[in-house]
């Protein structure tokens, strides 16, 4: 194939993947009547749709809710996940292999089975409509534990033995000695967890009905299907843009890490 053809095809691909986002951004800024057009520029750009969204739904509050939930989940997955991963890789205790196999098994359980009982559990614990119900069920993840374990296996045992001789506790070894060596795996787990948590809609829809506790994607979903948008295309696109923006900004900065993290999910299969 000629190089020109290659670039041509790659450029077509680029248009297919990038144009809809640009169209969304431009549509959110256009006056209502111009939105349908294919062009991206309009002399009448306005912030009216954004004002409309901001007055109709508490989207800033939802943004802060999402930050709180996703950051808590990510911190928990990284801290506890690395502790379990470290124990599985470097500590010799009874039932270690059994635990490892158990965690592999939990990764194979389709969430269709556990979804309803988890909701029932939230009802029984009285946690419906609380931040805890959004955070708790994802505080740990088998996949992250396995990723940490695999990485920690490659840390030389001599390093740990030396630290032990110096009187370091295992907690200190993990957080002071091994963590600084484990930046790639920590970043991978953090990005995957944060993205999954930030973009999840199904679980929030199930356990949160109080508008002031809703996460950002949930609030936008309700805005779209609940009729609050009153079929105003501009407002829909503005809400979608506000929802996409934080992730796209993060992606612009950590693009390489995002892609590498997702590549590691291929191991799941």
């Amino acid at each position: 194939m000629k190089t020109v053809t290659k670039y041509f095809l790659l450029l077509i691909g680029m248009v297919i993947f990038a144009y809809p986002f640009l169209w969304m951004l431009s549509g959110s800024l256009k006056p209502e009547l111009e939105i349908g057009g294919l062009g991206l520029w309009s002399p009448h750009f306005t912030m009216a749709a954004y004002k409309n969204v901001l007055t109709k739904i508490p989207i800033i509050r939802a943004f802060l809710n999402s930050c709180l939930v996703s950051l808590s989940v990510t911190a928990s997955v990284v801290v506890f996940g690395s502790m379990v991963g470290y124990a599985l890789a470097k500590l010799h205790f009874i039932g270690r292999t059994a635990l490892y196999l158990l965690i592999l098994f939990t990764m194979m359980i389709p969430f269709q089975i556990t979804l309803i009982p988890q909701y029932v559990l939230m009802v029984k614990l009285g946690l419906v409509d609380t931040y805890l119900s959004l955070i708790m069920p994802t505080m740990m993840s088998g996949f992250s534990i396995i990723l940490f374990r695999q990485f920690f296996m490659s840390v030389p045992q001599a390093l740990i033995d030396a630290a032990r001789l110096d009187g370091c506790s295992d907690l200190r070894i993990l957080f002071r000695l091994i963590w600084p060596l484990s930046r790639p795996v920590i970043i991978t787990v953090a990005i995957l967890t944060f993205m999954t948590s930030w973009n999840d809609v199904l679980w929030p829809l199930i356990v949160v009905r109080n508008q002031s506790l809703m996460t950002m994607p949930q609030l936008v979903t309700i805005f779209v299907i609940g009729g609050q948008a009153e079929a105003q295309l501009g407002s829909l696109l503005a809400a979608a843009t506000l929802l996409a923006l934080p992730v796209i900004i993060a992606y612009a900065f950590f693009q390489r890490y995002f892609i590498e993290s997702m590549a590691s999910t291929g191991l799941k299969g």
Binding site: L10, G13, T114, P117, L121, M195, G269
Partner: protein, 297 residues
């Protein structure tokens, strides 16, 4: 006696810190994995709306399921989705990754753009495509009329709606699979192509005899991941079509959600979830069997 000594010995040898380190996971496991699993086995044999006491109905939830046209409809819809989504996804991802893997400039830039829809929430993607699929003034129909073709009723016609969702899902996810294919392609040793060149094999032969067979593990991963994704399809039909028109986009997950949280049939919804999980396991195992080729030395 000797056995007890062994256990005591093993306990002494065992690293107590290990137990401390895994104890948070143990609590998590019992609350959010073991309990829900056990509870689902009770729930599937009961009728329960979460408010009034549970009522034991034996296998009646399953009996009802096999007479429930919507249950079968949701399975058929999922299969329609998968039949379009998986081949489309593999072709697009393979094509783009082959282009990216050749000697071109700005590879990272192109890859980053193709990956963009992956990181964005499914809600954003669905809102976006809802506008693009609009019959009267959507971007796609405007493009079609621009080149002189007639409009397509993307999401208003029952026979088009699910394929439209499959196309949208491909657009959203293909970036992941491009990256997976690139990893696979980089794992193919260059010597294979060199010796094929010496033997006079052309590009097409090299693709069918070397590239594709060696990408088999990647293809299995992609088929399995897409299948699991297809059975978990929820937010796209929920926002785009609400399961319509005429239930043509009712996905399994959406049906479970409606049964549980719209009608309050917790027992029936749990039974549906249970059956769908079994179907996923069986389908994934079958796919592995069917696609996996014997590794040629």
């Amino acid at each position: 006696m000797k056995k007890r000594l062994n256990i005591r010995h093993a306990w002494k040898q065992s690293d107590k810190t290990g137990f401390w380190f895994v104890s948070p996971y143990a609590i998590f496991f019992f609350l959010f994995v073991a309990y829900p699993l056990c509870f689902s086995f009770i729930l599937i044999f009961n009728r329960w709306n979460i408010v009034t006491p549970m009522e034991w109905v034996g296998l009646r939830n399953f009996d009802r399921m096999f007479r429930d046209p919507l249950f079968f409809k949701s399975i058929v819809n999922t299969l329609v989705f998968l039949l379009i989504h998986i081949p489309l996804q593999i072709c697009v991802a393979l094509g783009l990754s082959l282009l990216l893997n050749s000697k071109i400039k700005m590879r990272g830039f192109f890859r980053a753009i193709y990956f963009l829809p992956v990181v964005v929430s499914g809600v954003v993607v669905t809102i976006l495509w809802q506008q693009m699929y609009s019959f009267d003034d959507g971007v796609l129909n405007r493009l079609l009329t621009l080149v002189g073709l007639s409009r397509i009723p993307w999401i208003v016609d029952p026979s088009f709606a699910m394929p439209s969702i499959a196309i949208m899902a491909t657009w959203k996810n293909v970036g992941i699979y491009i990256v997976l294919f690139l990893v696979g392609l980089q794992g193919i040793p260059n010597e294979l192509y060199e010796s094929a060149n010496i033997d006079g094999a052309n590009d097409r032969q090299q693709f069918w005899k070397i590239t594709l067979p060696l990408l088999n593990p990647t293809i299995i991963v992609i088929v399995v991941l897409s299948t699991i994704g297809g059975f978990s399809l929820f937010i796209e039909p929920y926002v785009l079509t609400g399961g319509g028109p005429l239930q043509s986009t009712l996905s399994g997950m959406l049906y479970i959600y409606n049964q549980a949280f719209y009608f309050g049939h917790m027992g029936y919804a749990a039974a549906l979830g249970f059956v769908f999980a079994l179907i996923i396991l069986v389908v994934v195992l079958l796919q592995r069997k069917l696609i996996e080729t014997e590794p040629t030395s």
